[in-house]
Subunit: 375 residues, 2 copies
């Protein structure tokens, strides 16, 4: 496979999670999971609204008890993205969650009494919602662990296919699959294998990836490998950080692979002994302000003239910091030189002006007529 | 290529950077670059010593002026890893750096007067040190930018081969190559292409990757793609963060790919509404203490019994947090239950004991005889 081209997607069955369709060539949906207590309705809703703001497409909450299940209708009423209930062990809580209006449930059939799964599937069928079969290396059936010695990729796939056969036998095919392991390579392999063997949509991830640095590294490597092979219909970044960060990392992965575009991009040099300014602080401020832009500009933040004149040349806009002052670039040409503390504000004045013109130029004649300022 | 197996390395020419050999199948060396002013000897040495502590193999400093070049001997005297001088424009500074004892220089020939490069190569030959030809998308020769329209991967490779031919014509082959672009996909492609065309060792990286989150994502995707194809003899993570973080990210990438082992690993769940404790804080503390371990233990930090009993089963040690207390696991078996605030200290008491036994068991009979306690 040529790693440098935009990946072509494996076409899976299309299923609906509330108003978000996944599979069937739909854009890859970004998921996250609340870290609030689900029975804390206000806290959970606040977290979900913050996640919606940064581009989370689907949200999951844990439903470990009756208080959590009872809170679901109040949460659903106040949010705008589909809600998934995450259930372990307890079929009754799965059924209550479905009755309380969730858009999908996630169960790990390996830890649920087999005779109760029938009831869950019946209620899910009535509600018309999908079920994710979430296989986890840590909770594989005993006979498979014995057969393979360890929870290998092959063992995880055999477990998945076994549950899939059982679900299909009961006439239930509104299914999403996931196979996760904290071993990145085993995780990749299991997801590759299962993608060859079924056409159900896949929820991809690397579970328990760890804290910020190593978590982002493991997840980026694991998910990009799958996404480049066209595998993955919905994804979650399971790092030990707040869910907003998880969503930002997911978006960065998709953007790097060319699977999600149309957003501004900020590049910045890694700084070195040549830099005369605090590039990191300036770059973070530029990144923050760039999120409000509507055009997909590429903005470069450079610490010295070597970088500003060179690497920043291909950017739409750039700033090159010098001693106490800096230059503002547009397409590699210096537009003006200003004191360091005015660099960012002057840069965004210039960009805002250009953005206004672009939006204006894009208006149809009819829109121009409606807009007295433009006449 | 099978992405799930440990990559096999492309064998390049072996070259020596001080006491670190790269290429020829040697381990991939991790580099970083100081953000201190090079003329600030104390600050630069302190940063390099901190980098040595976290596993940096080779360090680079900017040499933008005579003060920086003059400081090099004082720095070299106080550090233990090879020092590289990063030079732009100025051949005289390159020569002074070599005379002042650096182990390698990095030049971007595209921004150095061509007639001065002869002198640089002559002095480098006399000193017996290698030169990195650092091609950057931003400073390509004008004729190549015109020919390809943009600084494409092909343009970067053509520039590299042109300089390589010139160096070889002058009898200089003690060379490391790098081709960097802030466009991750172009960067990967250029490095893949050049690896097919030459057998000089490659310094790999994604330049100007940006701030923490997106920087780690871009770098992990870019570098892992190359490393999996066996490309890369030395690497740098160019994110806009302190160099210690750059080295930690580099190590995490190599570890995830199975290219650097023998170190403890901490996995931790991403937390959710089931968690009864602050998993992130506990995981960070465990990670911090785990760096002092000598055995490559896998330690799991889990937020609830679901995860602790399942995903943590394959770990050597684990803690599963409950309400105000937690369980300490060894190979999936609960060893003891302790109050939350004693979890980490009790875990490491257990590990320290086991580690002592392992080290003891590994001693030869002769060593046992020398050690009166063991008799």
């Amino acid at each position: 496979m040529d790693a440098t081209r935009k990946p072509s997607r494996k076409i899976t069955r299309e299923i609906a999670i509330g108003n978000v369709n996944i599979g069937g060539g739909n854009p890859i949906a970004i998921q996250s999971m609340c870290v609030t207590k689900t029975h804390d309705v206000d806290g959970t809703v606040a977290q979900i609204l913050a996640l919606e703001d940064v581009g989370c497409d689907i949200i999951r909450v844990a439903v470990p008890d009756d208080r959590a299940a009872a809170a679901l209708p109040d949460i659903i009423r106040q949010i705008h993205i589909p809600l998934i209930a995450d259930i372990h062990f307890n079929a009754r809580l799965a059924i209550r969650s479905i009755e309380n209006g969730v858009d999908k449930i996630r169960i790990n059939p390996g830890n649920m009494a087999a005779d109760k799964i029938d009831d869950v599937l019946r209620v899910a069928t009535e509600a018309g919602i999908p079920v994710r079969i979430g296989i986890n290396a840590g909770s594989l059936e005993r006979d498979l662990v014995n057969k393979y010695g360890h929870p290998t990729a092959e063992a995880m796939v055999e477990s998945t296919l076994r549950w899939l056969a059982l679900f299909e036998q009961k006439g239930f095919e509104n299914i999403v699959l996931s196979l996760k392991s904290s071993n990145v390579l085993a995780s990749i392999e299991a997801q590759q294998l299962v993608a060859q063997k079924t056409d159900y949509p896949l929820h991809i991830g690397v579970t328990d990836a760890g804290t910020l640095l190593s978590g982002i590294v493991k997840t980026s490597i694991g998910l990009s490998t799958l996404l480049r092979e066209g595998i993955g219909d919905t994804m979650r970044v399971s790092i030990n950080e707040d869910p907003v960060t998880q969503v930002k990392v997911a978006k960065a992965i998709l953007k790097t692979l060319g699977l999600r575009g149309g957003e501004p991009e900020v590049i910045s040099c890694s700084s070195c002994g040549r830099a005369e300014a605090d590039i990191r602080t300036i770059a973070l401020e530029v990144e923050d302000r760039a999120t409000a832009l509507t055009e997909p500009f590429k903005i470069a933040v450079m610490g010295c003239t070597v970088s500003a004149a060179g690497e920043a040349r291909e950017a739409d806009y750039g700033i090159g910091c010098g001693r106490g002052k800096g230059a503002i670039f547009k397409k590699g040409i210096v537009i003006k030189t200003v004191p360091e503390q005015e660099l960012v504000s002057e840069l965004f004045k210039l960009i805002a002006n250009d953005e206004k013109k672009i939006i204006e130029d894009r208006k149809t004649p009819a829109e121009h007529r409606k807009d007295p300022v433009a006449v």
